[in-house]
C-alpha cells in the first residue's frame, strides 16, 4: 500500500528529516479480525518529546493501532519500534497508557489505585503510595485520597486513573480518546497536563475524533480512515492540503474582472466564494483591479484542521470502502 507521508519521511535510523529522534516508528502495520481488516498498512513516525495526534472517525482503526504500538496485540504483519525496542512490552515501564474504556478496581482507595498502577510499572508500593498522595494533592484531589474508587464520581475516577498513568514518570504516554467523558474544565486541565508532559520531554500520543483538541495540542498528526493512513505529518501541512478560501465583495456585478474568478466560484448574497487559485493572491488582485471590479472587501481564510480532516478522511474512507468491496468480490 502506498501511503502519503507528506514531508515526513522516516529514515531507518529512527530519526526524522530534521534529525529528531523518534519515539515511535511503525511500518506497514496490518491487523485483521476474522477477515475484517481493521488496520491496513499503517506507517507512523512520532518524534520524541512531541505531542502526536491520531485522528480518525469512529471505527477507523485508531485504538487497534495504539494497542499494537503498546504490545497489547501483535500485528499480523509490519514492524513497530517503540522507544528503540521492537517489543513494546519489554519497555512497558517507560510507557503510560490510558485506555479508552477506563477502569479501576472499585474497592481500591484512590491512593492505592495509583500505587497499584505504579507497581505494575515497577515502582515500589510504598513509593507509589507516597507519589499517589502527592499527585492527588497537586491536582486538588487530596480529600479523595482515602476514598474508594466506587465512592468517586466518574470524572474523579478518570482523573485518578490519569494520575496512575503518569505516576511512574514515563517517557511515552499513550492516551486513547482521553477527552471523552470529561467536562470542559477537566478537558482544559488535561490539555495543560499534556503540554506540561511534552515540555518535560515526554512523548505524548493520543487518539481523538475531536479535531479541536488536536489542532490546539499537536505538533504532528496522523489521520486514519478505513484502517489506512492517508496523511501523517505536521498540522500545518494537513491544513495546506486545502487551498485557502477567498470571500470577495465587489461594487460591479459584471465585467471583465469575472474572468479572473475560477469556474467553481459561487455567488451567495453580496459575496463571491472560491478557492484561491494556485497562481496566488497577487495575480488575482491585479486582474480584479484591472477589470474594474470595484473591490469592497476581500478576505482569504486558511482552512482549519477540521476542513482538512473531513477532506482527507472522507476521501480515504470512500477508497477503503471500494477496496473492501473489491476484496470481497475477489474472495468469492
Amino acid at each position: 500500500m502506498k501511503i502519503d507521508l507528506g514531508e515526513w519521511p522516516v529514515t531507518g535510523n529512527a530519526v526524522d528529516v530534521s534529525g529528531r529522534e523518534l519515539a515511535i516508528e511503525a511500518r506497514g502495520l496490518v491487523k485483521r479480525f476474522d477477515g475484517f481488516t481493521a488496520v491496513d498498512g499503517v506507517d507512523l513516525s512520532v518524534p520524541k518529546g512531541s505531542i502526536f495526534g491520531v485522528l480518525g472517525p469512529n471505527g477507523a482503526g485508531k485504538t487497534t493501532t495504539l494497542r499494537m504500538l503498546l504490545g497489547i496485540i501483535d500485528p499480523d504483519s509490519g514492524t513497530r519500534r517503540v522507544l528503540g525496542h521492537d517489543r513494546p512490552t519489554d519497555i512497558a515501564r517507560r510507557i503510560g497508557y490510558l485506555p479508552e474504556e477506563r477502569g479501576l478496581y472499585p474497592a481500591m482507595k484512590a491512593t492505592d489505585a495509583i500505587a497499584f498502577l505504579a507497581a505494575l510499572r515497577g515502582v515500589p508500593l510504598k513509593e507509589g503510595r507516597r507519589k499517589g498522595r502527592e499527585l492527588l494533592e497537586e491536582h486538588g484531589l487530596g480529600y479523595a485520597a482515602d476514598r474508594q474508587i466506587r465512592q468517586l464520581s466518574k470524572g474523579m475516577a478518570q482523573q485518578v486513573q490519569l494520575l496512575g498513568t503518569l505516576v511512574h514518570e514515563p517517557d511515552l504516554v499513550v492516551f486513547d480518546e482521553p477527552f471523552s467523558g470529561l467536562d470542559a474544565i477537566n478537558q482544559g486541565k488535561l490539555e495543560r497536563t499534556m503540554r506540561g508532559l511534552a515540555a518535560r520531554g515526554t512523548t505524548v500520543i493520543f487518539s481523538t475524533h475531536v479535531i479541536a483538541h488536536a489542532e490546539r495540542l499537536c505538533d504532528s498528526i496522523a489521520i486514519i480512515a478505513g484502517g489506512k493512513v492517508p496523511f501523517a505529518g505536521p498540522v500545518d501541512q494537513a491544513r495546506d492540503r486545502l487551498r485557502p478560501q477567498v470571500r470577495l465583495e465587489t461594487r460591479a456585478t459584471d465585467g471583465r474582472w469575472r474572468t479572473a474568478l475560477p469556474a467553481d466560484a459561487r455567488h451567495e448574497g453580496a459575496f463571491w466564494y472560491f478557492t484561491l487559485p494556485e497562481s496566488g493572491v497577487e495575480p488575482l488582485l491585479r486582474a480584479l483591479i484591472e477589470g474594474e471590479a470595484g473591490i469592497l472587501s476581500l478576505s482569504i481564510e486558511r482552512p482549519g484542521l477540521h476542513d482538512a480532516f473531513v477532506a482527507i478522511a472522507g476521501e480515504a474512507a470512500a477508497r477503503a470502502l471500494e477496496a473492501n468491496s473489491e476484496e470481497m468480490e475477489s474472495s468469492r
Binding site: 491487523k31 485483521r32 479480525f33 476474522d34 477477515g35 494497542r67 503498546l70 504490545g71 497489547i72 496485540i73 501483535d74 499480523d76 512490552t89 512497558a92 515501564r93 510507557i95 497508557y97 485506555p99 474504556e101 477506563r102 477502569g103 479501576l104 478496581y105 472499585p106 474497592a107 481500591m108 497499584f116 498502577l117 507497581a119 505494575l120 510499572r121 515497577g122 515500589p124 508500593l125 510504598k126
Partner: protein, 421 residues
C-alpha cells in the same frame, strides 16, 4: 519506623515482580472483603448440613431397615428355630435378623409365603417382613428376594441344624493373644490413610479451586484488563492470580484447621486415628501441603484459562458444572487406581498431571520411597507452567484478539491440505 528492606533490582524489574504485584492485590482484595467471612464460614454450614442430614438419615435407616424373617413351620418346629436363632446369634458374624413365628402349621396345612411377603403382615415391633422360612427343619424353604435369600440361606441352614440336633453344652472360651499389627493390618491401615488423604485433598481442591473460575471476570468487567495487558506479561498476570488464590485457600485451610482443632479440644475429643503413612506423619503432612498446592495450581490454571474465556458471571456459572465434573473424574481415577497397584491405571493416575497429586499422596501413605515425589513434584510444576503459558496465549489470542487472524489460519490449513500426500 524502619522502612522495609528494598527488594533487589533484578526482582523489581522481573517477571516475578509483575506476578507478585497482581498476587498481592488479589490476596488483599479477597482477604479484606466481607465475602471472605462467608467463605470462611462455608464449612460450618457444610458441617451443620452434614450432621443434620446424617442424623435424619440414620433415623430413617433405623426405621426402615429392620428386616425380620417370618417362620411358618409345623407344630413346634418354628419355635425351635426361633430358640436356635436366639442361642446362636451372638456367635454369628454380622447382624442377624429377628425371627418371628407367623404360623404354627397343623398336619396337612399349608402357608402361602409369597402372599405373606406381599402383604407384609405378621412383622412385629415396627420391623419389615423380608423373608419367610417354611418347609420343615430337615428341609427348610426360604422365600424372599434374591439378595435376601442369597445372604441368609447359610444362616437359616445353621439355625435349622441346631434346632434339629442337640446343641453343644457350652461354647469353649477362646484365649486371646493380641498383636499390635500384622502385614495385613498395616497394609489396610495405610490404604485407609491413603484414601483419607486423597479425600481430604479432593474436598479442599473442590471447595477452593472453583474460586479461580471467576477470577478474570472482575478485570474484564471493570476494563482493567487493558491496562494490565499493556503493563505486564499475561503469563505473570495468570501466575499472580493463581498464587493469590492459593494463598487465600491456605488462609482458609489454616482457619478451618485451627477451628476444628479448637472444637476437638473443647469437646475433649481426639482426632480420628489413622495408621501412620509409610513416609511418616511429618513428611506426609509436608507432602500433603505440596500436593495440595500442586493440585490447586494445576486445576486452578485450567479453571483460570477456561474462566478467562467467560465475560460475565453467568457464563462462569455455566462453566462451573463441567469444571466440577472434571474434578470428580480426576478424583475417581486416583481412587480407582489406589486399589490397583502395578496396573496401567495406576501408572496413568500417577503420570496424568491433574490426577498425579492425588495418586502421589496415596503413594506416600503406602510406600516409603522419596525420590518419586521429587520427580512427581517437578513434573507437576512443569505442567503448571505449561498450562499457564497456554492459558495466557489463549487469552491473548481469543480475548485480547492478538495473534494471527482467522483468515491466515484458514489459509494455512488450506495450504496444508493442498500438500501432496
Amino acid at each position: 519506623m524502619n522502612s522495609p528492606k528494598p527488594r533487589p533490582a533484578w526482582f523489581q524489574a522481573s517477571w516475578f515482580h509483575a506476578a507478585w504485584v497482581v498476587a498481592r492485590r488479589d490476596f488483599v482484595a479477597v482477604i479484606f472483603s466481607k465475602a471472605f467471612i462467608f467463605f470462611l464460614l462455608g464449612p460450618l454450614f457444610l458441617g451443620f448440613i452434614g450432621v443434620l442430614a446424617g442424623s435424619i438419615g440414620s433415623h430413617v435407616q433405623h426405621d426402615l431397615d429392620r428386616p425380620q424373617i417370618g417362620v411358618a413351620m409345623p407344630a413346634h418346629s418354628g419355635d425351635a428355630l426361633v430358640v436356635a436363632r436366639n442361642a446362636m446369634s451372638g456367635h454369628m458374624a454380622g447382624p442377624v435378623p429377628e425371627f418371628v413365628v407367623l404360623e404354627r402349621l397343623r398336619t396337612g396345612e399349608t402357608f402361602d409365603a409369597r402372599k405373606a411377603l406381599k402383604s407384609g403382615r405378621g412383622a412385629t415391633h415396627g420391623g419389615q417382613l423380608a423373608a419367610v422360612v417354611g418347609g420343615t427343619l430337615e428341609a427348610p424353604v426360604l422365600t424372599g428376594t434374591r439378595e435376601r435369600v442369597d445372604a441368609w440361606q447359610g444362616m437359616v441352614s445353621a439355625f435349622a441344624a441346631r434346632a434339629v440336633q442337640a446343641a453343644p453344652a457350652a461354647y469353649p472360651a477362646v484365649t486371646l493373644d493380641q498383636v499390635a499389627s500384622t502385614a495385613d493390618t498395616v497394609r489396610n491401615g495405610q490404604l485407609v490413610t491413603a484414601q483419607a488423604g486423597q479425600t481430604l485433598l479432593f474436598l479442599l481442591t473442590m471447595l477452593l479451586a472453583g474460586m479461580v473460575l471467576s477470577n478474570l471476570v472482575e478485570e474484564k468487567a471493570n476494563k482493567i484488563i487493558e491496562v494490565l495487558a499493556a503493563s505486564i506479561p499475561l503469563d505473570a498476570l495468570f501466575l499472580g492470580k493463581l498464587f493469590a488464590m492459593l494463598a487465600v485457600s491456605l488462609v482458609g485451610i489454616a482457619v478451618w484447621g485451627a477451628g476444628y482443632g479448637a472444637l476437638m479440644l473443647a469437646g475433649m475429643r481426639s482426632l480420628p486415628i489413622l495408621d501412620a503413612p509409610a513416609v511418616g506423619w511429618p513428611l506426609f503432612l509436608v507432602l500433603g501441603f505440596l500436593y495440595f498446592a500442586m493440585a490447586y495450581l494445576l486445576l486452578g490454571s485450567m479453571f483460570l484459562t477456561i474462566g478467562g474465556m467467560a465475560s460475565t458471571v453467568r457464563e462462569v456459572q455455566t462453566l462451573s458444572m463441567p469444571a466440577t465434573m472434571l474434578q470428580l473424574i480426576v478424583f475417581f481415577l486416583a481412587t480407582y487406581a489406589l486399589a490397583r497397584p502395578g496396573t496401567w491405571i495406576e501408572t496413568l493416575s500417577l503420570v496424568f498431571p491433574v490426577s498425579s497429586p492425588y495418586a502421589m499422596l496415596a503413594r506416600a501413605a503406602q510406600s516409603g520411597d522419596l525420590w518419586p515425589h521429587l520427580v512427581a513434584l517437578a513434573w507437576q510444576a512443569l505442567w503448571v507452567g505449561l498450562i499457564i503459558r497456554f492459558g495466557a496465549q489463549l487469552f491473548r489470542r481469543t480475548v485480547m484478539k492478538s495473534g494471527p487472524s482467522q483468515r491466515r489460519k484458514r489459509r494455512w490449513f488450506a495450504l496444508a491440505k493442498r500438500q501432496p500426500a
